[in-house]
């Protein structure tokens, strides 16, 4: 009597906890307000089971510290700092519950459930957002060093392969372009004896430090810049950066190459606020920013010293637009002109600038994107298959074991409830293979009941009384149930350890399912029998 009551109390408590844990509840989610484009908090009622990306749709990215440009000494630290930056960015990005976690030493996993624009997601996550302001090469140190660079390249054995211009073209080209030069600098002297491997493909631009390279030659310039001789011949304190835009001189397209001072006057670290807007005058998309108080002081000092100089705005190693001239001291307030790019892009840029720069470059090693309708179809198919499978199991059990089968089937209902509750309580993710695992584990879950029932039947056949047969049946089936479930759980656990996303979801569902099936098949069904026996103490046959 007492044991039955205690058992029922325990089952009732488990039932209440399980039902409570999967009831839809109000959750505060951050959403993109379509009217204002801002992130706002909204309250939604959601069933607290996390669905995997394969069921919800969304974007999954695995990123790795890019070591192709040179080794990164402290990968772990770099990825930890990147994780913080990416998380800050994504909190404003407009997806529910973005997942950002480190994965091993050099890897970052990003999941954006419900996101349907993978390209934008990649831009936001990958953009390094390293912002710098540098003064262009006002003293023409780079141009003066050109003959030296040519000579160094010549000595290093670089011949004019792919050199479109003849060796003596430098002066001609500069001469031909001299009408465009504002400062009236004299053309670089032609060394004559050495072939102008490098300077031969450079044209003087409109301002000091600006050079133009025919678009088809940009690869050549990049490969020359990698040569050590080139690097050692570069003037000290000067760096080269490409510009973002292509320029046209007649029919030919050119890319701008800027020689700028190595030391930035200020970096994006000092940036405090950034917002995107459209410039009323020229209809350009711009990002306006405010610097911190300290940054504003430094910036004002530096720009005060460089009035009438040109200032390059460098974002991720690319000079944005044409460097503007500094007309006056600039304070804590400035703007980046994105010209005719869409406003959405300016908004994204403002977002990543606010969140700060990534300490390293991140390369994508694995990307997945699943459309939301596809996820809905998958859920639909999975539930349909699961329902049919479970219905078949119920029919088989009822036909074969009749009343005892009914006990097992009602325990099965509890089993499904407990499994879902287990997923919700421990915060595990339900994936499509997980749904399959759930359906499959229903088939396996009845195994424990089958073992017990078959044992009871055997005991009955040996002529034991109903009560004794049930007792013995449970007792003898126990070792087989435990051994087989533990070994299945062990393989599922290994699967969890080595698997990725969806497969881990499957393993988790299987493990939770095994635990739930042990509770329901052994404890719950036993309790049902006890109640049954208590109500019919004179029972001589049992419907099994």
């Amino acid at each position: 009597m007492k044991t039955i009551r205690n058992r029922l109390l325990l089952i009732g408590a488990l039932f209440v906890i399980a039902v409570y844990s999967i009831l839809p509840r109000s959750t505060v989610v951050r959403q993109l307000d379509p009217r204002t484009g801002q992130m706002v908090d909204a309250t939604e009622r959601l069933v607290p089971i996390t669905l995997g990306l394969d069921l919800r749709g969304g974007v999954h990215l695995d990123l790795e510290v890019d070591q192709t440009q040179g080794p990164v000494p402290d990968c772990k630290d770099a990825i930890d700092r990147s994780q913080k930056v990416v998380r800050t960015r994504l909190n404003e990005f407009g997806t529910l519950e973005p997942v950002v976690q480190t994965n091993g030493n050099c890897r970052l996993t990003v999941e954006l459930p419900g996101e349907s624009d993978p390209d934008r997601a990649k831009r936001i996550v990958q953009q390094q957002a390293h912002l710098e302001f540098r003064i262009t090469d006002m003293k023409n140190l780079f141009r003066d060093a050109l003959p030296g660079i040519d000579k160094a390249l010549h000595d290093a054995g670089v011949r004019g392969a792919g050199n479109a211009a003849p060796a003596n073209a430098v002066s001609q080209l500069f001469g031909a372009d001299s009408s465009k030069k504002k400062n009236g600098k004299t053309p670089a002297p032609d060394s004559g004896s050495t072939s102008a491997v490098f300077s031969g493909i450079l044209f003087q631009g409109q301002m000091p430090g600006e050079y133009l390279v025919p678009v088809e030659q940009t690869h050549l310039v990049d490969s020359l810049r990698k040569i050590t001789a080139f690097q050692s011949a570069m003037p000290r304190g000067i760096d080269l950066f490409w510009g973002t835009d292509s320029l046209y001189r007649g029919a030919r397209a050119y890319k701008a190459l800027y020689a700028v001072e190595s030391k930035p006057i200020i970096t994006g670290e000092e940036l405090e606020k950034a917002t995107a807007r459209r410039d009323q005058v020229n209809n350009h998309s711009v990002v306006v920013f405010d610097l911190s108080r300290r940054g504003g002081r430094v910036f004002a000092d530096a720009t005060g010293r460089h009035v009438h100089d040109y200032m390059a705005i460098i974002l991720d190693t690319l000079v944005q637009g044409q460097p503007p001239i500094i007309n006056d001291q600039i304070g804590a307030h400035g703007q980046i002109d994105l010209q005719s790019k869409p406003l959405a892009e300016a908004q994204d840029l403002a977002l990543v600038l606010r969140a700060g720069a990534l300490p390293v470059r991140l390369a994508i090693v694995d990307e997945q994107s699943i459309g939301p309708t596809l996820g809905a179809d998958a859920i639909h198919d999975g539930i349909k298959a699961g329902a049919v499978g479970v219905a078949l199991v119920i029919i088989i059990m009822l036909v074969y074991y009749r009343m005892s089968g009914l006990l097992a089937v009602s325990a099965l209902g509890l089993y499904v409830l407990f499994t879902l509750a287990g997923l919700a309580i421990f915060g595990f993710t339900l994936t499509l293979p997980g749904l399959a695992g759930l359906a499959l584990s229903v088939g396996i879950a009845v195994d424990a009941n089958v073992l017990i029932f078959e044992r009871i039947r055997e005991e009955l056949q040996h002529g034991k009384s109903v009560r004794l047969a049930i007792d013995e049946g449970f007792k003898h089936a126990m070792s087989a149930i435990i051994d087989s479930n533990v070994s299945t759980a062990l393989t599922a656990f290994i699967l969890y350890l080595v698997g990725t996303g969806p497969v881990q979801g499957f393993a988790i569902t299987l493990i939770v399912g095994i635990a739930a099936s042990m509770v329901t098949a052994i404890f719950v069904v036993r309790t049902f029998y006890l109640i049954w026996l208590q109500r019919r103490p004179d029972m001589t046959t049992v419907s099994i």
Binding site: P118, V365, I370, L432, R457, S484
Partner: protein, 343 residues
């Protein structure tokens, strides 16, 4: 009550040679085929890009997609219909085409389709791009998983039973993996992480089944102290037969529901599981039990009392089981008993 195969007395062990032959017939050509052609690995393992294209126009077929990809210089892409005639899966593997990084490959496929079919004529349901490094890591992990699952279950079985039982169970499981790999090869299923997951689940399921029988063997060895192992194995298999039929019946029912209704993503998994249920059942009876007998004969154990008991059935042809004095459950001629429906 309604019972299937109750009190069955089939002599399962007698047929072990036939069983070995049958299973060799499946495994050997499968492995030869495997060595000759290899497995069809998914891009998760090889690296590459998989793009599911949903066409908005029924006139777009695989040939048109192929032409569009070829025009975009993406030769050697695989194109497969995916569930309906407006849904296709395009696979571009790294190494078989001229593109290397997953990022670039995804872009190349989309650019080729935009150019060949026209923007707006199709949409991308889902795509996946995996770098070759990740693929290699996953390959290593999958092998490691199978190895570890062997090791851990062997250790567990050695702890719960004794090493002879554990070894027999693991050998039976190894057999299951071989037949399943052969099955995957015959069906030319794509080996993805989910399929590896199915193989591992199969390992768990098959072990589960073997354990149920071995548990009964262990019990019967204690119960019938003077019975020989040959008869005890047969007795145990027969006693657990109703359970086997019913459990496998319910699992195969859910698995087949997944095969036919679960959708394209789940189908390879469900197919492997469906096969695994057959091979797992087969190996528990025809591989695990005879192998246990073999092991007990070579290395007689105390628990199984193999050395003494095994002399008679192993020396005489198994067709004529020796009547044992203390075998209430096994009459000498124990071959045919109709399924009975009692009470």
């Amino acid at each position: 009550m309604f019972r299937l195969f109750a009190n069955a007395r089939y002599d399962f062990i007698k047929w072990r040679k036939w069983a070995y032959g049958l299973t060799a017939l499946i495994i050997v050509p499968g492995l030869i085929l495997l060595i000759a052609k290899g497995l069809n690995y998914s891009i998760e393992f090889t690296g590459g890009t998989e793009v599911q294209v949903l066409t908005h126009d029924r006139s777009i077929d695989a040939a048109k997609l192929r032409a569009a990809l070829d025009a975009g210089n993406l030769h050697g892409a695989e194109i497969a219909s995916f569930g309906s005639d407006t849904s296709f899966m395009i696979r571009v593997r790294i190494g078989e085409t001229n593109v290397q990084s997953p990022d670039v490959t995804v872009k190349a496929v989309r650019a080729a389709l935009d150019a060949g079919l026209g923007v707006g004529k199709y949409s991308v349901g889902k795509y996946e791009g995996i770098g070759p490094k990740v693929g290699q890591e996953l390959q290593g992990k999958a092998l490691l998983a199978i190895f570890f699952s062997f090791f851990v279950t062997l250790a567990y079985l050695a702890f719960r039973f004794e090493w002879r039982f554990g070894l027999a169970a693991v050998l039976a499981t190894f057999h299951d993996i071989l037949t399943t790999v052969a099955f995957i090869r015959y069906m030319n299923l794509e080996v993805s992480l989910v399929v590896v997951g199915a193989v591992l689940t199969m390992v768990g399921y098959s072990l589960n089944d073997t354990i149920i029988i071995f548990d009964r063997v262990r019990e019967n060895l204690h119960k019938f102290r003077r019975q020989n192992l040959y008869d005890i194995l047969n007795l145990s298999i027969n006693e657990t037969l109703p359970r086997s039929i019913l459990t496998h019946g319910t699992t195969i029912a859910t698995t087949l529901a997944l095969v036919f209704l679960g959708g394209e993503v789940i189908r390879p998994f469900a197919l492997v599981m469906a096969f695994a249920i057959f091979t797992g059942t087969f190996s528990s009876i025809y591989i695990a039990a005879p192998v246990l007998m073999f092991i007990e004969k070579r290395w007689p154990g105390e628990d199984a009392r193999g050395a003494r008991v095994l002399t008679s059935p192993m020396a005489t042809p198994p067709a004529a089981p020796v009547p044992a004095p203390a075998a209430p459950a096994l009459p000498p001629k124990a071959n045919k008993t109709a399924p009975s429906a009692a009470r």
